[in-house]
């Protein structure tokens, strides 16, 4: 098991219980979608994994290393194996595309090397290779804020991959994108995970997208897991459990589209 979460609980200082004894296991190479209403604790869950948010209780293990017990230096080393992709891209806007991509290597180089942008040649080479893979090699020296939304998210993906991660933590990757770009980005994430054998936890609002691109879906409601199963088993009753009463008949993917979508997921 690549990632094992046991009894993960997060209570914010305001008293809000964001996560309530969550147990979750993710095997290597599995792409998992995490769905749930706003405020269900999806963002908190993935941030508790790399401890951008400090969990209140519970244990998180990545590849046998107990992340929740690590000191700050060891935590920084462990974070290198967890690439993160963000909702609003979270690129450092005044840096160039290449600088943003190379920032994925910050955990591997010393301070002065990073200050003078003296990254190892093979890192820069890998950066160009990945930028070319997502079709942005010609944008390397553009400032990040000159890019379109879809392009920025591609740079965000490349930055995460530069870390040489085992696991991708993906927070609402398509929330700021149009439907077509959303699908392209999801497809890219899933393809790259397959190419590199990465596991991914993808927080996502859009149930149809989740079903189309992830084979396993976990539903979170008020900090508890209320659904965990293959995408095709996500039925109206499950959606009612996760989101509450609503007419779900148009949301759930018709059976005839499943083959095509499964192909895309590969």
């Amino acid at each position: 098991m690549l990632l094992t979460i046991e009894g993960l609980t997060k209570r914010y200082p305001t008293g809000d219980l964001a996560l309530d004894k969550v147990d979750l296991q993710v095997p290597a190479g599995q792409v998992m979608a995490l769905i749930g209403p706003s405020g269900a604790g999806k963002s908190t869950l993935i941030r508790c994994v790399n401890r951008l948010v400090e969990p209140s209780a519970g244990r998180v293990q990545l590849d046998g290393v107990e992340l929740t017990a690590l000191g700050s230096a060891a935590l920084r080393r462990a974070r290198r194996r967890m690439g993160m992709i963000f909702q609003e891209y979270a690129l450092v806007e005044r840096l160039t595309v290449m600088e943003n991509v190379l920032s994925g290597r910050l955990g591997y180089v010393g301070f002065w090397a990073s200050w003078f942008r003296r990254f190892p040649r093979k890192d820069v080479e890998e950066a160009f290779r990945l930028l070319d893979r997502v079709g942005l090699a010609h944008m390397a020296d553009k400032r990040a804020d000159a890019l379109s939304g879809g392009q920025r998210q591609r740079v965000g993906i490349v930055r995460a991959l530069m870390q040489d991660p085992k696991l991708l933590l993906v927070d609402e990757p398509t929330a700021s994108l149009d439907p077509k770009t959303s699908r392209q980005i999801m497809r890219l994430i899933v393809e790259l995970c397959a190419e590199r054998g990465l596991a991914a936890i993808i927080n996502i609002h859009d149930v149809a997208l989740a079903q189309q691109f992830a084979r396993r879906i976990v539903g979170l409601r008020a900090g508890r897991i209320v659904f965990d199963g293959p995408a095709e088993e996500l039925r109206a009753e499950a959606l009612t459990d996760i989101y509450g009463e609503e007419d779900w008949s148009q949301t759930i993917r018709p059976a005839e589209e499943e083959d095509e979508a499964a192909e895309a997921a590969l």
Binding site: R79, A90, E93, W115
Partner: protein
């Protein structure tokens, strides 16, 4: 739907733009209070018009002494004072900015823990409480007359000014960008260099240019209390009743301040 019973036209007639102060009695209390204060304040001013008329004549004679400005007689003094002022300005600005950066980091609530935050805010408050002249008097008393006292004064004032404004800019950064840098496994200093600095750099450069300009103006004043620079030259020429030389010094100051202001404005436009 209540569309049949709701009268939009009547609602539109009754609608008023919201006032600045919502509570009516408070609104009128504030307006009346301000008016009463203004009337009382004006009524207590005493003007001695005959004294003022004499003053105008005396001011005319005093200003007449300024013409023509004499750049030549005390040329070396002016030049020396000018160079001293410029040196003080550059050294003090550089030193002040260098020292203000750690203080700014400590005074940003999103980076520093509470004790550090309070300590650094304390430094800023002290630096900003005292006017440059007062600090200069203290430094002159401690270190004697000369440009060293002036330089330290300006550096000290620069810390408060820069640290406060940079700290506010740091508190306004987009947290998501810094979070993304943290998520890569960067160290704290890398977080500053990659997640924070790119976001505050334009402001840092712009404020530095602005502070250089302020420090030159201040250096002209500090001479009056013996803290060196072109202010010393100005003070000396007044003491010797050499108003023509004083006028020359003033013109030099004006020209340099204008040049500084233009340059700093240009730099600030470029980095935005």
């Amino acid at each position: 739907m209540s569309a049949t019973t709701f009268d939009a036209a009547a609602a539109a007639r009754a609608w008023r733009p919201p006032p600045l102060i919502a509570t009516p009695w408070l609104r009128y209390a504030v307006y009346l209070g301000a008016l009463a204060y203004a009337l009382l304040a004006v009524s207590t001013i005493e003007v001695n018009w005959t004294r003022a008329a004499e003053g105008v004549e005396r001011a005319g004679r005093f200003l007449g002494g300024f013409f023509p400005p004499d750049f030549i007689t005390k040329r070396s003094d002016i030049l020396e004072g000018l160079l001293e002022s410029l040196t003080m300005t550059v050294v003090a600005t550089g030193l002040g900015i260098l020292l203000s950066i750690p203080v700014a980091l400590g005074a940003a609530r999103n980076l520093a823990p509470l004790p550090v935050y309070l300590f650094c805010r304390g430094i800023i408050a002290i630096s900003r409480t005292f006017q440059e002249i007062i600090i200069a008097i203290v430094f002159v008393a401690m270190l004697g007359f000369g440009p060293l006292a002036g330089t330290l004064t300006l550096a000290f004032a620069t810390i408060g000014f820069m640290a406060k404004l940079i700290a506010e800019d740091i508190e306004d950064i987009q947290a998501s960008q810094a979070e993304a840098v943290r998520a890569t496994g960067s160290s704290w200093f890398q977080l500053l260099a990659w997640g924070v600095l790119p976001q505050v750099r334009p402001r840092l450069i712009g404020l530095s240019a602005y502070r250089l300009d302020i420090n030159f103006r201040e250096s002209a004043v500090l001479g009056l209390v013996g803290a060196g620079g072109i202010g010393d030259t100005l003070n000396t020429s007044f003491d010797r009743y050499e108003f023509d030389t004083a006028a020359a010094v003033l013109i030099v100051i004006i020209v340099i301040v204008l040049a500084c202001e233009y340059a700093s404005g240009f730099i600030r436009r470029k980095v935005q």
